[in-house]
Each structure stands twice: as C-alpha cells, then as structure tokens.
C-alpha cells in the first residue's frame, strides 16, 4: 500500500475523531477506552507515514481500522435510547460462559428488520492488541462487543429471543467450537466405525455427508463459511439458545423462515433445526447431541443444560410485572411471555375484568411492556441492594 493511501485512511479517521473527541460516557470503562484511543491517535499524528516500509504501513492500516471500528462502537453507545434491559439479560447469560470483566457491551439500533447479531470484530484478534501495546504502550484490558438489533424491534422482547442464538455465535467464535465439531464429525464419518443409528442420525442433520466425496472434500477444504461449518454453527446456536429460552426461538424461527424445508448454504432446514432443539429439550437419547455436549464441555468446561428457571406466575394476565427473584428467572420471563402470546388472550380479559376486545397490537404492547418492566425492576432492585450494602 502506498503511504498516500494510508494518509487517506488516517485523514478519514481524524475527521471522524474530531466529532467524537468530546463524547461523553456515563460508563467509566467506556471513558477509559476512549482515552486510550486518544493516546494512539495522538501518537499516529506524530508519525511520518512516508518514511515507512511496507510492513510498517500494513501495521498502521490494521491499527487505524481497529480505531475506526472502536469509534463506531463507542459512538453508537452514546445514543440515549439504549435497550439496557436486553443487554442486562444477555450479559447474565454470557457470565455462564465467560468472565464479564473482559467485555464492554454496546448496542446499535439498525434499520434492518432481521438485523440481530453480535459484532465480534474487535473481540477475537489478540494480535492487534499486542501490536498496539508494542508500538504505543497502550493496553486494552477490556474489549468492545456490539449487539445489533433492529430499531423497529428494539422493544420487542418476543423477537429479541433471537439474540440468545446470536450470543451462541459469539461463544462459538470465542472457543472455536464449530471448528472442533467439524473435524470430529468428519473423522467419525470417515472412520466407518459408527453404528448404524449413529450414522443415520448424522446423515439426517447433515444429509450431504452420506456421500463420501463431500466428506473427503470437506476434510481437505475447511473454510469458516462453507456449508458444513455453517450448519454445525447454526445447530450449536439453536442448542445454546434453548438452554435459556427453551423452544421460543423455534417459534420465531417458524415465523421468519416460513418453515424452510430445504437446507441452504448458510442454514440447515427449519424442520431439522426445530427437531434438534426438541430432541435436546425432551432429553431424547441422541448420539449427535451427546457429541455436541461432550465437545462443548471439553473446550469450555461448561455443561450444556437448561439454564433458565421458569416463571410460575399469572402476573401478566393480571397486567402487572413479575417479581423476578434470581437471574435465571430473567430468561424464564421470555418463555412466560411467549406462552401468554400463544395462549388464549381471553385469559387476560377475564383475569383483569377487561370489558372490551383486546386487539393483537394491544396484547403485543402489554406483553412487551410488562417483560421490560419486570427486567427493569430486577435491575433496579439489585443495584439498590448492592448500593445499600456497600
């Protein structure tokens, strides 16, 4: 890359930084992160790109890209409409798998109805952090991760169950779970040592493995986004999510995929995905799910099991929030919300003596409001109790 192009990239960053320089954050950790960006940018301003060789130019290119991404994440976090309730619940789930101290979670509300995702760009490349430390003496002890959700659905807690699936992708990338499952399953299939029912189960969820040619090709051509890798990851994420929200994401899956009967390059068929989760939830003996569980445990030391506590309540039908007692019930709240949505809404009418017909949009508002308030109340009480103790 020519130095002039690097100068172009840096000018773009400086322009963005001139607007972001005086950002205000209520979160001290974001302030500290921002200060570190300032130190690096200030150091870059003193450098003469024209004097750099190719290696040094490439280094700066990656570092400036890192700074851009960091700014993008931090800028999104200064908006005043953060859906902190959903962030809190996902953070609680994340704690089961990872130390929460490593991350600063930010959110971005985007104009894409299907735009649920975790942006991991700054999470899993340790090299860039090491390079920054070597060049500028700046150490980032926390990394930014961004949760993307659709602006129009930011208060839709029934839809936001999808984010548990997305959290699964985050955990997958952190521990490279798909990569290991990929190798292990192909080795099992190629070994010829599988019992008939084990083989049939694998071929059911991965139909193309019944032909040895794809098996051999897949062994030699690992790629993070080949169809087999994608499918393994999707099954993992569905399994991951179901630990917290049972089959709620299956409900939403049916809605967004219209029960897609064939697999695509990116996703298994919807019936297979639903079946995979149901087998897990029912505890039906399954060779493949056991493989997943064993591999996940060996890597993460965390068991794949139900991690939610169901909420035994009729509060929503009585138009009041649920009093959540422990964090596991936060996940159970979504299951309760979905059960009420799928149930007969006359229960709400009769329980609350409502004298007029409840439209679906009214029930939708009521449920989302009450889920939000239930989570918000738990957060407030927890923070209040902690403050009183300290």
């Amino acid at each position: 890359m020519q130095p002039k192009l690097l100068e172009l990239q840096f000018s773009q960053l400086q322009s963005e930084w001139s607007k972001a320089k005086y950002n205000n954050y209520s979160d001290l950790r974001k302030k500290e992160y921002h200060t570190k960006l300032a130190i690096i940018i200030s150091a870059l301003e003193k450098e003469n790109f024209q004097s750099f060789d190719d290696t040094e130019i490439t280094q700066r290119f990656h570092i400036i890209s890192f700074l851009f991404k960091s700014l993008e994440f931090l800028n999104n976090s200064t908006t005043s409409t953060i859906p902190f309730e959903i962030v809190y619940v996902l953070s609680e789930a994340l704690k089961d798998w990872s130390s929460a101290d490593e991350y600063i979670i930010v959110t971005s509300l985007i104009n894409d109805l299907n735009g649920f995702s975790f942006d991991n760009s700054l999470m899993f490349n340790g090299f860039i952090y090491k390079d920054i430390e070597l060049l500028y003496g700046v150490n980032f002890d926390k990394r930014l991760v961004q949760i993307n959700l659709p602006l129009s659905l930011s208060r839709d807690y029934l839809a936001n169950v999808v984010l548990y699936h997305e959290l699964g992708h985050f955990i997958d990338r952190k521990y490279e779970i798909t990569r290991v499952i990929y190798i292990e399953i192909l080795d099992l299939v190629a070994s010829g040592n599988l019992k008939l029912h084990e083989q049939e189960e694998i071929f059911k969820y991965f139909p193309y493995l019944s032909d040895i040619n794809p098996v051999n090709w897949l062994k030699d051509n690992y790629y993070p986004f080949n169809y087999f890798s994608n499918h393994i990851a999707e099954y993992f994420c569905d399994l991951f999510a179901s630990q917290y929200i049972k089959d709620c994401s299956n409900q939403y899956l049916n809605y967004i995929t219209l029960n897609q009967k064939n697999y695509s390059n990116t996703h298994p068929s919807t019936p297979n995905r639903i079946d995979f989760v149901e087998v897990f939830l029912k505890g039906t003996p399954s060779f493949l799910i056991n493989q997943y569980k064993e591999i996940i445990f060996k890597i993460t030391r965390v068991n794949v099991e139900r991690k939610e506590k169901e909420v035994d309540s009729k509060n929503f039908e009585s138009l009041i929030p649920v009093e959540i007692q422990e964090s596991k019930e936060l996940h159970g709240l979504f299951i309760y919300g979905w059960n009420v949505w799928l149930d007969d809404w006359d229960n709400i009418k009769s329980q609350s003596n409502i004298g007029f017909d409840l439209s679906q949009v009214k029930v939708y508002e009521i449920l989302n409001n009450l889920i939000e308030k239930s989570i918000g109340n738990f957060i407030v009480r927890t923070e209040w109790e902690l403050a009183k103790k300290s």
């Binding site: 290696t55 990656h62 760009s121 899993f124 490349n125 340790g126 090491k130 070597l134 060996k298």
Partner: protein, 103 residues
C-alpha cells in the same frame, strides 16, 4: 460489495507481519510468534489437542500443522531456540498457502 473483510485473513496478515518483524531483528515481536510456533509444535507432538490449544490463534496453528507437520514436530520445546531461520521457514510456509487456505 467491493470487498469483504474477514477476521481470519486479518489474523494471518498480522502474524505474517510479526514474523517479518522478528526476522528483521525486532526482538519485541519474537515472544508473540514464539507462542504460536510453540503451540503448533505441542499440537503436532501430541502434547496439546484440539480442545486446549490457544483459541485465538487456533486456525493459524491448524493451518501450519497441516502445511508441514514434521517441521513443527521436530522443533525443540524451548522457544529460546527459535531464531530467524525458524521464522523464515514459517513465513515461507505461509506464503505457499493456497488462496482458499488463507481464510
């Protein structure tokens, strides 16, 4: 779209860059590349496995192990013995990778 950014490409690019720096004599980069080379050695020697190799550099480790297993197997278990020759060899291996392997 004009270009699609891939995290794994970036990791390999940076690792290649660090190797170059180490070869050029910048010793501060040696520990970073030594860690990956040592981890690859331990993997091919059977001291580590898919479940406990470093997750961040896992794909690079598996890539290198697949390229020249014997070289990494025969490496000494002490990174202090790794030198410019070692780094140059690893760099050459990476340069030979097929485009789709450099994911």
């Amino acid at each position: 779209m004009l270009y699609s950014h891939n995290l794994e490409d970036e990791k390999i690019n940076l690792f290649t860059l660090f190797l170059t720096k180490a070869i050029q004599g910048e010793e501060s980069y040696s520990p970073i590349v030594n860690d990956v080379i040592l981890e690859t050695h331990k993997y091919v020697a059977g001291e580590k496995n898919l479940y406990n190799i470093n997750r961040d550099s896992m794909n690079i480790i598996l890539l290198l192990a697949g390229l020249e297993n014997d070289f990494f197997k025969n490496l000494i278990d002490n990174p202090e013995n790794y030198n410019k020759e070692t780094y140059s060899k690893v760099l050459d291996l990476l340069k030979q990778t097929k485009p789709q392997m450099a994911y």
